[in-house]
């Protein structure tokens, strides 16, 4: 089968990807409690039958944990080695995973860093993907 790095996009997550293409972070929220959640669900995971609304959130938070790839598993990403993956705790309480470019370079976000998530194109012809960038004072 052909190798791909494309996410599956459908009615459940399309608002996230449409917003990402515009450089904005949108998350599903429980309409009744107002709480943002992830991953996307058709009904609120907090409330029986609770409806869901998508709203933009501030794309800032901190790195709770980071893993750094020293070995390629996907050929599409091999030319980016070494690269990192950060688990970002957003200020709205949701945790998202984001790509970390050049993790060995000074200024790259490490565990504990304040970061902003931007949507950058990582692969030629690919879509804009969540990437963690350190916030410098």
């Amino acid at each position: 089968m052909p190798e791909t790095a494309e996410p599956i996009i459908n009615d459940l997550n399309r608002p996230f990807w449409d917003a990402a293409a515009e450089g904005q972070l949108m998350l599903p929220h429980c309409a009744d409690t107002g709480v943002a959640f992830w991953p996307p669900a058709p009904l609120s995971p907090f409330l029986d039958g609770g409806s869901v609304v998508w709203r933009p959130v501030a794309a800032e938070g901190y790195v709770m944990a980071r893993a750094v790839y020293r070995r390629a598993f996907q050929q599409a990403f091999a030319h980016l080695l070494p690269y990192g993956i950060a688990m970002v705790h957003l200020d709205c309480g949701v945790r998202l995973q984001a790509h970390v470019p050049a993790p060995d370079m000074p200024g790259s976000p490490v565990t504990g860093s304040r970061v902003t998530i931007r949507f950058d194109v990582l692969l030629p012809g690919g879509r804009a993907l969540p990437v963690a960038h350190a916030i410098t004072d």
Partner: protein, 391 residues
């Protein structure tokens, strides 16, 4: 209640070499034959079949029955990853306790030597990293997060940061299990491992190194579960007295402790009262202090660490200190993975540890035998567990 209604009466295994030319059915056949011989049973006595891994990594229940000459009235099968060991054995015990079968062959047979690593394009599970709402190990292939190793690396980084611990304390796990494998004739990795070897081995995904990863390979294990009232002393039966299947919720993550704070976990770890009151302990009427010999899931070395905490052997965050000074070695307070575990014996999704627990509780483990082992525990960070007791 399930407790004590069933017993393991036979275990068998194939050899564990990486051999792309050997059929997974050949391995399953060897494991079943050895288990039947061990139990002193004819294959016609088997009326149930519980399979962990199907095709393409393993073989499906229907092919297994046809190929192995089984005729069963109860069959079940779980998915092709490694978290259903206790659940499969529990299904067998449930089927027997509820009258659906009397003797169930439980089989793990898989071949990895003809596949790439999970996350690579020539592995049949490549597309799982794009599964809706994340892969089965937290993968998100579109940002470059592929392979189970990444999820394990992420949690280890979070754990060491949360508790302020030196990551190198983890070395006690791979070094101890390697020392155990050196006493196990069919272990895949029996060469010595020193601290320098561990510190110097190649990084895979920081902070996980090569020697923190299990040895992906080929093999099969068969465990025969029987109605307890049909056993005889020559079978050296080991009773299943406590059981819990794998748990699932927002608080669970495949490679982290319950409630650790990975993904959408709350960050509220289990309390000592909760870990020491685990449902498998309660079913068996035991506590962590009752356990003579332990088998834990260790596809990556940190998983063993978290299991000691989630099953109440030590408190949350204390595991890296607790495992030092021979605590988990043969002769220590809590001898663990006496055959070398997945890290050094063979990567058989934990079925190797279940087989070793049976061997230990029968008193047949030779130079690695834990003295007077009467009560054993199989446990994983998925919460699934089996308490096993010698009659």
């Amino acid at each position: 209640m399930l407790s004590g209604k069933t017993a393991i009466v036979g275990v068998g295994a194939s050899s564990f070499e990486r051999n792309p030319d050997r059929s997974v059915l050949t391995m399953a056949s060897h494991a079943l034959s050895h288990a039947l011989t061990d139990a002193g049973l004819e294959r016609g006595a088997i009326d149930g079949l519980c399979v962990q891994i199907g095709s393409p990594r393993g073989a499906d229940y229907d092919t297994l029955a046809v190929t192995l000459g089984l005729d069963v009235r109860y069959a079940s099968q779980t998915w092709p990853h490694g978290r259903f060991t206790a659940t499969v054995l529990t299904h067998a015990a449930m089927a027997i306790a509820s009258g659906l079968a009397t003797r169930v062959a439980c089989i793990l047979a898989m071949k990895n030597s003809d596949l790439g690593r999970i996350g690579e394009a020539n592995n049949p599970f490549f597309f799982e990293q794009f599964r809706e709402n994340g892969g089965p190990h937290g993968e998100e292939g579109h940002i470059g997060m592929a392979s189970p190793v990444a999820g394990a690396a992420m949690v280890l980084d979070l754990y060491c940061r949360t508790y302020g611990k030196d990551r190198e304390l983890l070395s006690a796990i791979p070094l101890t299990f390697r020392a155990h494998a050196r006493m196990t004739p069919d272990a895949v990795a029996r060469n010595p491992m020193t601290m320098d070897d561990y510190l110097g081995c190649r990084p895979i995904i920081d902070p996980i190194r090569l020697f923190d990863c299990s040895l992906v390979g080929d093999g099969a294990i068969c465990v025969i579960v029987s109605a307890a009232d049909l056993t005889n002393p020559t079978q050296r039966p080991v009773r299943i007295t406590g059981a819990q299947g794998v748990r699932a919720s927002r608080e669970s993550f495949i490679f982290g402790p319950y409630g650790m704070g990975v993904g959408q976990q709350s960050g509220k770890r289990l309390t000592p009262a909760e870990t020491r009151g685990h449902s498998a302990y309660r079913m068996a009427g035991v506590t962590p202090g009752s356990i003579d010999v332990l088998g834990v899931y260790d596809s990556f070395s940190p998983l063993a660490l978290y299991t000691f905490e989630d099953f109440g052997f030590c408190d949350a965050g204390d595991g890296l200190d607790w495992i030092q000074n021979g605590r988990i070695a043969l002769g220590g307070d809590m001898p663990t993975n006496l055959n070398g575990g997945q890290l050094s014996h063979a990567q058989l999704n934990g079925w190797g540890q279940v087989r070793e627990l049976v061997t230990q509780l029968r008193g047949e483990a030779g130079e690695r035998q834990v003295a007077n082992a009467r009560t054993g525990l199989w446990a994983t960070i998925g919460g699934d567990a089996l308490v096993m007791e010698r009659d």
